[in-house]
């Protein structure tokens, strides 16, 4: 009984320590679309480096594309102001993608870490549930 528990102890410890590690590093290199002022957004990676490869597409409320292009030298992109609320999507073609809607602030830093923790917790729970199911099954079997 003690042994089978120990079998999973190591990965559990690793996973949990990752959670704490990640609370600080999870946002280490995300791409962000940041509002600068009305009509201007800036596309950067966490840490402030400009996402030079990013292509920006702007959609109106109905979801149709109204503007597209790269960033200027400062990493800024100018979107049209006469179209009401817009959704700005940036993609650097290397796996990073970020979105911003007019009116959004940038308070999702925390929710991201929370999401990661919840997901990991889910996996740990699944692992524990099946671990105990197996253990119960083994216990029900006659001793060899």
């Amino acid at each position: 009984m003690g042994r089978s528990f120990k079998r999973y102890l190591f990965p559990v410890i690793i996973t949990l320590s990752l959670v704490f590690l990640l609370s600080s590093t999870v946002s280490a290199h995300r791409m962000i679309v940041e509002p600068v002022e009305e009509g201007i957004v800036k596309v950067i990676y966490d840490g402030g480096r400009i996402a030079r490869r990013a292509e920006v597409v702007v959609y109106d409320e109905a979801g149709s594309e109204i503007a597209r292009g790269g960033l200027d030298e400062k990493g800024h992109f100018y979107y049209p102001l006469d179209q009401g609320d817009v959704r700005v999507v940036a993609d650097d073609g290397l796996g990073h993608r970020a979105e911003w809607k007019t009116g959004d602030s940038h308070g999702d830093e925390l929710s991201r870490a929370v999401t990661v923790i919840l997901v990991l917790l889910g996996f740990v729970i699944i692992a524990l549930v099946f671990h105990y199911r197996v253990k119960n099954k083994e216990a029900a079997l006659p001793v060899e």
Binding site: T15, L94, R97, L120
Partner: protein
């Protein structure tokens, strides 16, 4: 490392989905309840660790631990990659749903390959086996990534600073780093928890709860 939506052409993405589907089906087939805790934990570990990005030049590189997952999970590795990638795509727009098939294949094929390789080499040196497996898994992933990009659009290869050259250069350090990490991790597991490595001889000797294999 993760391909985003819209990078691959439709036929390539579709073909990759078919391949990945077959691989995941193979991976799920015959899963025992005993294996699920480990699969679940490794999936969580992969999900979390590959969200960390390290800037290398103009690109970024993610730790993947493809080799380690391959060694520990064996044929169950594709399932772990698929679930991890799916969650990343849905929750963080990291990668993309249309490229999920390609991303899964990119990680799962090398993982399966190095699993076999590791079983062959570990008799001589566990550390070397792990290190080689870790490094080769990334190399395999990189090769598949480049192939996917080339099949989709030849322009990815144009010029010295082409996407492909940048990706290759960015991943060279990762090959070395993951090789070392995997080597040490496997060595550590071999000493501390040999049952986690699916080495037949070790399992039989040290872990009577696992029968046969």
């Amino acid at each position: 490392m993760h391909l985003a939506d819209g990078v691959l052409s439709l036929p390539v993405a579709a073909a990759a989905y078919v391949g990945a589907g077959a691989l995941v089906a193979y991976s799920i087939k015959g899963v025992q309840e005993e294996e699920i805790p480990m699969i679940s934990l490794m999936t969580g570990g992969f999900f979390a660790i590959s969200l960390i990005s390290i800037p290398v030049g103009p690109s970024t590189v993610h730790p993947i631990l493809g080799g380690l997952l391959g060694i520990i999970l064996g044929r169950r590795a594709p399932l772990a990659f698929f679930v991890g990638l799916l969650l990343q795509a849905i929750l963080f727009q990291h990668g993309g749903l249309s490229t999920l098939g390609a991303n899964t294949l990119m990680l799962a094929l090398p993982a399966l390959l190095v699993h076999k390789l590791f079983l062959g080499i570990q008799k001589r040196s566990v550390f070397m086996g792990g290190a080689l497996a870790g490094g080769l898994a990334i190399t395999g992933t990189l090769v598949l990534l480049i192939l996917f990009l080339l099949f989709s659009d030849q322009r990815f290869a144009e010029g010295f600073f082409s996407v492909i050259n940048l990706l290759a250069a960015g991943h060279l350090p990762l090959i070395a780093v993951e090789g070392l990490i995997t080597g040490y991790a496997v060595k550590f597991l071999y000493n501390a928890k040999p049952g986690m490595l699916k080495i037949p001889a070790v399992n039989a000797a040290n872990n009577p709860s696992i029968k046969g294999i």
